[in-house]
């Protein structure tokens, strides 16, 4: 009978486990002065080395630790950061930046031209195998020191989005002393010159950054910023409501309305240039056939995803990049037409009942698991047998980085931190692209992307990208899904937090009353 009781209680506990999660009391210490700002995100950073981090979560944190030469302001204008001014040679291939004087890294080393050169040499060096190498290496020839505070970038060709690319979080400047000492492991012990410095990182629990007392710019307003990975959507909302978290991202679509009515909380939907897509392994049958890829696009009901799953907090994607990104042109979305999909599949000789694998992260993007389950049902409806698997974010990244892991379809998204079509397309669709997990290869498209990168005339570039986007739509290596919005929840006593168009959670000016 004891067993019986304990098992009954165990099953009840299973049932109630959700309620228990993180539902601790919302008491805040009434201490005066600077405080700790708690940020709950859907998953945790992968690396704090901006040159080796390719996921948005990591970059939320690196933006606080590192300064870049230039940065974006709230309206996406490029403004000075470590560089106070810059000039371009007549042929546009040589750019000289003059640095702020007196800036120091968090380890006390001075920020000078040598340091900037060392930082860029590190990412440009092929042997370092850093994930974001191609962001810079494809157009930078070399970096040279002019004087203590003057550094020159020699380009391979005139590159229109140069400044935007330097404003990418991946352009964060490392302390040369730290990279020399730690090598690849700087991802776990980063040193930059930003307003917040690394304190501790307990994987799966929290990452703590503390204010850098010697920051050269405007002093940070809170004592520390703690990032917590909270996979559970419901738990994240609850943390915001109880005050256990000051900032949460993302807010589950089902909770947005409720939180809007809470007078302790501000809910803001920021536009974001993130497009969500379902990638296909285009090297693998049947996805090597363009008809099958188009069929999948016809099979998915984007309108219902937007209205029912995202509850209106998104819109159907009309191109491979978002409408906010420079170089966008709407090439249109595939209408929802399961009959057409079936017909295309029949033409391609795909037998009903063909088994395919669909992989998805959970908690990384707004309603990601739900969206994937819905797509699964859509694809089952046109005759596929879809094996579903959900992954933890870190393991998922590793799995989809390796084509031999066996994926067919994978849910992923791309935000363009440079806000320019070049970095929207080059990593994802060029044959050698660093994020080309669909293994898509098309010579004509490669040529267009290359041409777009090397052209400076704005009109010409726009036309090139329009053509490229059209080819991508027709070739359909993705199931184009939705343009996201970024729902950020903030406690009323917190100010200065916002989401940028490039989907950064900007915390540099955060203040907690």
């Amino acid at each position: 009978m004891k067993r019986l009781i304990s098992l009954t209680i165990a099953s009840l506990m299973l049932l109630l486990s959700a309620c228990g999660n993180n539902a601790s009391s919302g008491e805040q210490p009434a201490a005066e002065g600077p405080k700790d700002l708690v940020v709950a995100l859907g998953s945790e950073p992968i690396s704090l080395d901006p040159q080796d981090a390719s996921d948005g979560i990591s970059l939320h944190a690196t933006e606080l630790i590192y300064d870049k030469l230039v940065t974006f302001d709230k309206d996406m204008n490029i403004i000075p950061e470590l560089a106070k001014e810059w000039s371009m040679s007549e042929d546009g291939k040589s750019w000289t930046f003059t640095l702020q004087e007196g800036a120091k890294f968090q380890d006390g080393e001075p920020v000078n031209a040598e340091a900037v050169k060392a930082s860029f040499d590190r990412i440009l060096d092929k042997n370092n195998k850093l994930k974001r190498r191609s962001l810079f290496a494809d157009f930078i020839e070399s970096v040279s020191v002019e004087s203590e505070y003057k550094v020159t970038f020699q380009l391979k060709f005139q590159y229109a989005p140069l400044l935007a690319t330097l404003a990418h979080p991946n352009g964060g400047i490392h302390s040369p002393k730290n990279t020399a000492e730690k090598g690849k492991s700087v991802g776990k012990s980063p040193v930059g010159s930003g307003p917040y410095q690394f304190k501790e990182w307990i994987s799966g629990e929290k990452l703590v950054l503390e204010a850098n007392p010697n920051y050269w710019g405007e002093k940070p307003k809170v004592k520390s910023i703690t990032f917590k990975p909270v996979v559970e959507n419901a738990a994240r909302s609850l943390m915001l409501e109880t005050g256990e978290a000051d900032v949460i991202l993302p807010i589950p679509a089902t909770d947005i309305d409720r939180l809007k009515n809470n007078d302790q909380v501000k809910v803001e939907l920021y536009p974001s240039n993130r497009n969500l897509y379902m990638g296909m392994n285009t090297q693998k049958a049947p996805f090597d056939n363009v008809k099958v890829r188009q069929a999948l696009n016809y099979a998915v009901d984007k309108e219902t995803i937007v209205n029912k799953i995202m509850m209106g907090n998104a819109k159907p994607a009309e191109a491979a990049i978002s409408g906010l990104t420079w170089g966008y042109s709407p090439v249109g979305t595939y209408p929802y037409d399961p009959e057409k999909a079936k017909q295309l599949l029949a033409e391609a000789g795909v037998k009903p009942g063909t088994t395919i694998k669909l992989w998805t992260p959970e908690g990384r993007y707004l309603m990601d698991r739900q969206l994937s389950e819905f797509v699964q049902a859509n694809l089952q409806a046109v005759g596929f047998n879809v094996e579903f698997r959900k992954w933890e974010w870190g393991a998922y990244q590793e799995a989809i980085d390796d084509p031999n892991s066996g994926y067919d379809l994978f849910l992923l998204s791309w935000a363009v931190p440079t806000n320019d079509a070049d970095w929207g397309l080059r990593p994802n669709f060029s044959t050698e692209g660093s994020n080309n997990r669909t293994l898509f290869s098309n010579a004509e498209l490669d040529a267009l992307i290359d041409q777009g990168m090397k052209t400076t005339n704005e009109e010409e570039r726009k036309q090139i990208y329009a053509k490229a986007l059209q080819i991508i739509k027709d070739e359909a290596p993705w199931i184009f899904l939705v343009e996201m919005k970024q729902p950020i929840g903030v406690r009323k006593n917190v100010e200065g937090v916002y989401g940028s168009n490039t989907e950064r959670l900007i915390l540099r000016d955060a203040d907690k009353k």
Binding site: L7, L14, R258, K390
Partner: protein, 300 residues
């Protein structure tokens, strides 16, 4: 009680031994029938088995088909248990889920019984080095908390219901091996075993015809209780995403996905939670009753 009566009839043979076991059965059945709690458990399990067998006919809707127009609706006449985040009928999903839960419970325990009884009998009957070796390995297995062990096994094998069944089977083996070893030891020196030995019966013959049949009673009791544990464990693994993958209507998985909607639609996770409780309670009461009926002195 028809199953047990049937077993009784099949058991009829001419030997003295069979006659004795027949009267034992009768006593057992009458003791079981007198135990109200056991009978309630028995009928709860019968109910679930019936629902599982008739699932395609009794479920009012397709358990997998989505209808986004009616997502997250509360219980109503047309959907007595409400609908989930994809507008699927929760009642139909629970009915189909009964099949999965029963299947994992029964298959998992069956694997454990076959392996456990085989190992335990060898160990108890032959003793010596085989005994030491087998039982020490079992000890190693028992050193791990059972759920953790199951989780580790599924992590290695990869998620999926078949792997969950294997994991449940493996983590239950030591319990069965120990139990069957101890009951084999208690009977292997009895006179009737000696008699068969004296008549020249081979070890295999003795084990299969005499040792196992006479040591199986506690195994049956333990099985019915382990099925309950197995169902909970399977639901737990699915809850953590290691078991059934969408859109399979597995109770633990339903419970898990429903959590996100706990504030807006509590029925989505409450209903499968109640279903798990019902079935597990049934098996536990049945197991307790079987124990009392088979041997009132036996303690498990």
């Amino acid at each position: 009680m028809s199953q047990i009566d049937l077993a009784l009839q099949q058991d009829e043979s001419t030997s003295e031994h069979a006659y004795a076991s027949r009267s034992q059965w009768k006593m057992m059945v009458s003791r079981f029938k007198k135990n109200k709690r056991a009978m309630v458990g028995f009928w709860m399990v019968v109910f679930c088995v019936t629902v599982a067998l008739l699932a395609p006919w009794v479920a009012p809707y397709d358990p997998i088909e989505q209808n986004m127009q009616i997502m997250l609706e509360g219980p109503s006449l047309s959907h007595p248990f409400g609908t989930d985040e994809f507008g699927r009928d929760i009642l139909s999903r629970i009915i189909h889920g009964t099949q999965i839960s029963l299947m994992t419970g029964i298959v998992g325990v069956l694997i454990a019984v076959i392996l456990g009884v085989a190992l335990g009998t060898i160990s108890g009957y032959f003793g010596g080095l085989a005994d030491t070796l087998i039982m020490r390995i079992m000890d190693i297995f028992m050193a791990f908390p059972s759920f953790l062990l199951a989780l580790a096994i599924v992590s290695v094998l990869g998620p999926g219901m078949i792997n969950v069944m294997i994991a449940i089977g493996i983590f239950s083996v030591p319990t069965f091996a120990r139990l069957s070893r101890s009951s084999v030891i208690s009977i292997k020196d009895k006179e009737y075993i000696e008699a068969v030995k004296a008549m020249g019966g081979s070890n295999l013959h003795i084990i299969i015809k005499h040792v196992i049949p006479n040591s199986i009673a506690p195994i049956i009791v333990l099985s019915s209780m382990r099925i309950a544990t197995a169902i909970i464990t399977a639901a737990g693994l699915s809850f953590l995403g290691m078991g059934a993958q969408p859109p399979t209507p597995e109770w633990g998985a339903m419970l898990s996905t429903g959590r996100e909607y706990l504030r807006v639609a509590p029925h989505v996770s409450t209903m499968p939670g109640l279903a798990i409780m019902f079935l597990v309670l049934g098996f536990n009461m049945l197991g307790d009753g079987l124990r009392d009926a088979l041997d009132p002195k036996m303690k498990l």
